[in-house]
């Protein structure tokens, strides 16, 4: 039995501008014990998919299951198996950290959860904040409390929705250590993140979501093999020829282009030289997840536009 299963999940929102299709027939499974990454640009539907799984939103079509329990018809069992760390930094201003954790345990019907709460506080570096009011905590500390709240009932499946957005290095380290430890002890982890380095380092398998569709689903190592294996990287102050600019990943002065072999490298450099641009700091490196990601997103956007153009022509 998979830990998480999505079957043909679609979700349409009614907006003032008309219907918005946030998810288009998304299907995939996450096996028990996996560390799974859900990636995609902003607005791809990652949070919507997680909301469907957590019962915060109802799918327009399809079935989502947690450990075999339908999140709609068998929501109590599904929610017991699921721990969700929400993306927004939300908190209840009336209570202290320990009170919040005690209440959350109580909602799951767990009494005398003190030992586990202490362990959570300790592992997340919150012990000395236990009796502080939630209002007094910094953003990073609130984030830690969110993680603790999601884990009070020892869920088998842990969902982290952008847990490291705007979070300092120390917390990131604490968090990943702790989550990896839980994963090694058998918990399934579903992570969405914008930090592709994190996803590459942590996740065994990845799904890439774009405009509500799964455009790639594979082992991280396989995905990395898919892209051009080498990247040519150089710096320039000049404007690149359009043909190159559309394929390039540009960060300020730094330009990165897929180049599999010496011939490709030579071709790019020739084009650059002919355009009159000067470059320095040339190097060749291995492709990383970001390269794969960009390639896949561009490919899928082009395919979708083509499909839509076809549709309107017919």
């Amino acid at each position: 039995m998979p830990a998480v299963s999505f079957q043909n999940i679609s979700k349409t929102y009614a907006t003032p501008k008309g219907e918005l299709q946030a998810l288009r027939s998304v299907s995939f499974d996450i096996e028990q014990g996996e560390f799974f990454g859900l990636l995609g640009p902003n607005g791809a539907g990652k949070t919507t998919l997680i909301s469907v799984l957590a019962g915060l939103a109802k799918a327009t079509g399809g079935i989502a299951r947690v450990h075999g329990h339908d999140v709609q018809t068998d929501y109590q069992a599904a929610r017991r198996a699921l721990g969700v760390v929400p993306q927004e930094l939300v908190f209840d201003p009336f209570f202290t950290v320990r009170e919040a954790l005690r209440f959350q345990s109580g909602y799951f019907g767990i009494q005398k959860n003190g030992a586990w709460i202490d362990e959570l506080l300790h592992s997340l570096g919150l012990t000395d904040k236990a009796s502080a009011n939630m209002r007094q905590l910094s953003g990073g500390m609130k984030r830690r409390v969110l993680v603790a709240l999601a884990l009070v009932h020892k869920p088998q499946v842990i969902v982290l929705d952008e847990p490291t957005a705007g979070v300092d290095v120390e917390l990131r380290q604490t968090l990943w250590q702790f989550v990896s430890q839980l994963n090694k002890q058998g918990s399934t982890v579903l992570l969405t993140t914008h930090y592709l380095e994190e996803a590459e380092a942590l996740c065994g398998r990845l799904a890439l979501l774009n405009r509500g569709e799964v455009v790639a689903l594979d082992r991280t190592s396989q995905l990395l093999k898919r892209a051009a294996s080498n990247i040519l990287r150089f710096k320039t102050d000049d404007i690149l020829p359009t043909e190159l600019a559309t394929q390039a990943r540009i960060t300020g002065r730094v330009v990165q282009l897929p180049a599999n072999d010496a011939l490709a490298v030579e071709k790019i450099l020739t084009q650059v030289r002919e355009s009159g641009a000067t470059v320095d700091d040339i190097e060749i490196r291995k492709a990383d997840l970001e390269d794969v990601f960009l390639e896949l997103i561009h490919g899928s956007n082009a395919a979708q536009s083509a499909k839509m153009a076809q549709g309107s022509a017919a």
């Binding site: 019962g55 109590q76 929610r79 939300v90 201003p93 009336f94 909602y107 019907g109 009494q111 999601a150």
Partner: protein
């Protein structure tokens, strides 16, 4: 503790932690009403025979406090959680719609009754109505608080912003309470307004509650009981339905 018991307990703790604002303040307001209206109208308004105006006013004020605070409790708790975003912690739990309902309405009843008892205690100094039928007092106090707690739940689920909530409170709850006979017996009204008052469900709550103190009322307490009970059933059914379907909370 079960899940619902924990939520019930948390909701009580929530208002108790700011008790100065949620319990003491309404008691002070009620004393002001008592002092001003009691002073101005004592001897000028004739209500039931042999009942002083101040004594007549007391149960009305107690009930008004019960109703307003029961409403304020569930509605403000929900709207705050929605605006702050922390309602998500509850939504992620296996708590059923019944658990939510019992906890929110139950804690509203507790707050309403606590404020009511407080008002009764401090106004004791002004007037002492006879406790003719204490059981009716409790029954109407409880049902009134539950009804308004349920309305507060509905309003809290419906409202998306604080000003929508304020509108609900100022344009629906306040006029219905003030025009229900808190400060007067509706028999003193022109006939047309007596009839209009009979359409206000709040009138029956206050009239039945007052019957418990004096053993006399504008309409039969049994009629009030049936109508208030009916209203409570309708409001509960709506509240439970909204919670079950995730109205405005689960998209």
């Amino acid at each position: 503790m079960n899940g619902w018991q924990m939520l019930f307990y948390k909701e009580i703790l929530r208002f108790w932690k700011v008790g100065f604002q949620t319990v003491a303040a309404p008691v002070i307001t009620a004393i002001l009403y008592m002092m001003i209206f009691g002073h101005v109208l004592e001897g000028r308004v004739q209500v039931y025979d042999s009942v002083s105006y101040t004594a007549f006013l007391l149960p009305g004020l107690v009930m008004m406090s019960v109703l307003q605070n029961a409403f304020a409790n569930s509605s403000s708790s929900l709207i705050q959680s929605k605006v702050m975003g922390n309602l998500v912690f509850l939504q992620l739990t296996p708590l059923s719609h019944r658990a939510w309902f019992v906890a929110y309405v139950g804690s509203s009843v507790v707050r309403g009754m606590a404020v009511g008892a407080g008002v009764m205690l401090v106004t004791w100094w002004f007037a002492r109505p006879p406790f003719a039928e204490p059981l009716w007092i409790l029954v109407f106090g409880f049902m009134g608080a539950a009804l308004l707690g349920g309305l507060g739940l509905i309003a809290g689920l419906w409202a998306e912003k604080f000003d929508q909530m304020a509108a609900f409170q100022n344009f629906v709850i306040m006029p219905m309470t003030f025009l229900s006979g808190v400060f007067y017996s509706i028999h003193s009204l022109p006939e047309i307004w007596q009839r209009v008052s009979h359409l206000n469900p709040f009138f029956y709550m206050i009239d039945g509650f007052r019957y418990g103190f004096f053993g006399v009322s504008d309409v039969s307490p049994w009629l009030s009981l049936v109508l208030v009970g009916g209203a409570l059933a309708v409001v509960s059914a709506i509240g439970l339905h909204l919670l079950r379907t995730g109205y405005k909370t689960r998209h």
